[in-house]
Symmetry: D2
């Protein structure tokens, strides 16, 4: 038996919960999980609901019917996922390899329900590692002259492959508004600081200079405003005067892996709703 | 406008969510929060649902009608709370004062919707502190000879005061099965270790001897099995070889305050369901 | 037998450790703890050393002789503390009471070796609380007209009382460079964010708007640059979309208490050296 | 220029610090770090001291001369390390692969100054993974009949390879007292619980049954008493009623990797002293 997950949000009005649960029950399906949030300041209602489709139902038809109902009868935005979805992921990297290893091992171990379609990079450093995981590796020369052409090639690959999620696994290039629009799928980035502290370049050096006692990492959806996108997850670890920039970088690697993979897991399990540059995470 | 919170659990069956939400909607009331959990191993369904009673409804009548419906139509166990409840709390202490201060200050600051009815103790040490918060202090001489009589006096006070929650704020006496039954209200204890490690006496000394690198505190409902009741909350803090037993005790005090007060808050906000000696905490 | 603690720093050169330890040993005294740090980028050496003065020694004379030796023979900066020091602390508050309670209870319980000399405030709200701890309360009317005069009165009190540490326990006024110079003692502030994130006013509202997943608190020495002084301690706690600004403020209170009191403890135990707007904390 | 690290401990007596620092200074060498601990209950002194050998010195001769001095003149136990040491590590595994990946990647990235000599296992499951890191894989059939012979083969490999550290990376076999003696090197194990909670088999299932709110992992030196050896590091992560045993196992994997690798790093950097079944960790 398959399960369907819906993420919905929109203006609050009486009876949403009853309507949604009633619709599922009437079809003979059964709610497994439901979590909701009401932003009383904005009067916006959010829900994640997961249900087991009844035996004689076609799951995808049921999901589409639900989506139709929510949009027309409740006027809400909705996204549907199925437990046998295996979205295709593209990974963008530069030179640091720790997040690429971490992601590849999690997919290989079956921890995530997803398929790694390939690795895009502006450097050749991680080609061997990518291939050791049997991941197609695509190099793009992002020099000022070739950038426009190469970004078009990247977009072409993303569209051909029908990529549903891009992960920036320590990709040290800025994605333009135009690129994001054409890519047309969510993009998750790991920033190696506790945002909004130390946005921009060399955050561990900034942290060292300021003398903070904790360093952090932040996973966020990428928007055209660098380091300003909706935060999906954050964590910190303790440091002291004994840690120089090199130690912070090393300590930070473990943090980046955990924070990025936690954010990707939440996304893949349809737990994240974006709203007014913030996230609602039903975890 | 007042809100009602219901905590319900029982054997899972199709349509519970629809039934509950439908009932509330039909009365013109509006769901504010709903959180649920399905234990698929045991096939037990748990829900916390909070709703705003419609304008023309008597809140307590609506709560009782809901309870009636859930029990008769769904065959589930249910507990109802109202946002203007101010349950009476009894605090039991021995000699350590930090948790008593913490609890008293939280109640006084309005952080909790509750009333401290008084302090019961087997020592006179905290009488002045209790009275500085205008809390009636009751001393009970729990010597072997007087114990039976004094426990009866404690029970009498608990019943007369209509105490709805007992907090053992570092109370160093064991409550008998008989006492717990007669008290007839939930009892939350703070144990100064990360249970099940270091149950019993002198947990910080045990922790020191074992050389652990983290010490913990555990808040749990009290059952007749000492230190074995359902856990409501736990936390830990880092220690090193530099910390002797005295340092662990001092570090532990801050931990005990936070863990105990977090557990009490969860209880007072009707976020905790007990089930098979475990808790479901909707937080 | 009494112990002496020295905090020293200066340009590194061979033999400092041998010189310091040798001097103590030759006097028949015995090292209890020693911790050191070498900033290899700046070539600066830091040490905290604590020793038991030999039986026939006058502790304060020994401390002064040590100071003399370190300054003249090693050319280093040094600060000396004695285990029977009881520095006088002044607390500055506005309206929030939680840090004042926390500080007062720690001093009263003997957790800190210090004396609270009194409470200074620009509001009368906490007068009763101060007096319940038998702390003299001094109100200063910091209106634009009276500010200059009142600050002079504050300085006078600080100097008369021989205050050795000022704690800004949620004091919502900026201390001028002139004030800091005249006060002539270290000043520790608690900022209710994870600096450098959300410096300035209303950090919990800023955190809410940005949608961070952790909130923090930072204790730092006060300098003329607001929120830019050397950080003594920081900590964070997890939040979610369910927490509005009011919830963040409430969660933050517990964090602020712990972070501020940890920083004060470190300072009182002579564990903090300030250097290039950063701290070395030997904890 | 090379550095030498010494770990020493023994009965405390006046002048140890002066003697040690003086000896180093007299040879023209320079102390980089020194950290010490005095267990006042047991009157035992511990020190970790790291120094830069002077230009014209042979580092290993200097280390041996230091060792000789400490043993004969101070009567203390001492262990010496050199910054160009590259100890050979043997990894023992069963079927779980996450710790093996983590260890292999850290060694390959140069994070640790060590060499992986090979992988020993009682199952063939991880042979391919081992070989993908170019690590020799040795299978041993530990059936009741062949156990004695195979353990002798394991010991032979350990001795031939001159293994200096054995890591039990989720190795599900008990090492006998006899094996440990013959192996003759330290052995670090990762136990998948917060010891002493849930010693023995299936700790995540035990944790689930008890309903704890945090799960942990513990790295410890292996002694003949299963799960009772000196603890090198521990950490925990938050769980809730939503996590079944399978989720705890998955969450635990990340914890196990971090706790085990942190312990190995501390060991390799000569930061751990064992004493009375506890550790002093100079970190």
């Amino acid at each position: 038996m398959n399960s369907i997950t819906a993420l919905l949000y929109g203006a609050d009005r009486p009876g949403i919960v009853a309507k949604v649960a009633g619709w599922i029950h009437e079809r003979g399906s059964n709610v497994l999980h439901a979590d909701q949030h009401l932003d009383r300041q904005e009067n916006v209602f959010f829900q994640r609901i997961e249900w087991e489709s009844s035996l004689n139902s076609n799951t995808r038809e049921e999901g589409m019917a639900f989506q139709e109902m929510v949009q027309t009868e409740l006027g809400m935005t909705v996204r549907i996922g199925y437990d046998d979805d295996r979205p295709k992921i593209g990974v963008m990297v530069s030179k640091a390899d720790h997040c690429l290893h971490d992601i590849s091992l999690r997919v290989r171990s079956g921890e995530w329900n997803a398929e790694l379609a390939g690795v895009l990079s502006n450097h050749r450093d991680l080609q061997n590692i990518s291939e050791s995981y049997h991941l197609p590796f695509h190099y793009f020369n992002l020099s000022p002259e070739s950038r426009e052409l190469e970004e078009a090639n990247q977009i072409e690959w993303i569209q051909e492959q029908k990529i549903e999620l891009l992960i920036l696994a320590r990709y040290m290039q800025i994605l333009s508004k135009d690129f994001l629009e054409k890519a047309g799928c969510p993009v998750i980035n790991i920033h190696h600081s506790f945002l909004p502290s130390f946005a921009g370049a060399k955050p561990y050096h900034q942290a060292y200079t300021r003398g903070v006692k904790l360093i952090g990492a932040t996973a966020h959806y990428v928007t055209e405003d660098l380091d300003e996108g909706p935060i999906v997850g954050q964590d910190v670890t303790r440091v002291s005067h004994r840690h120089g920039p090199k130690d912070l970088i090393e300590k930070g690697r473990d943090l980046e892996k955990i924070v990025l993979s936690t954010a990707v897991r939440r996304h893949l399990q349809n737990r994240v709703l974006v709203y007014q540059n913030k996230t609602v995470v039903f975890d």
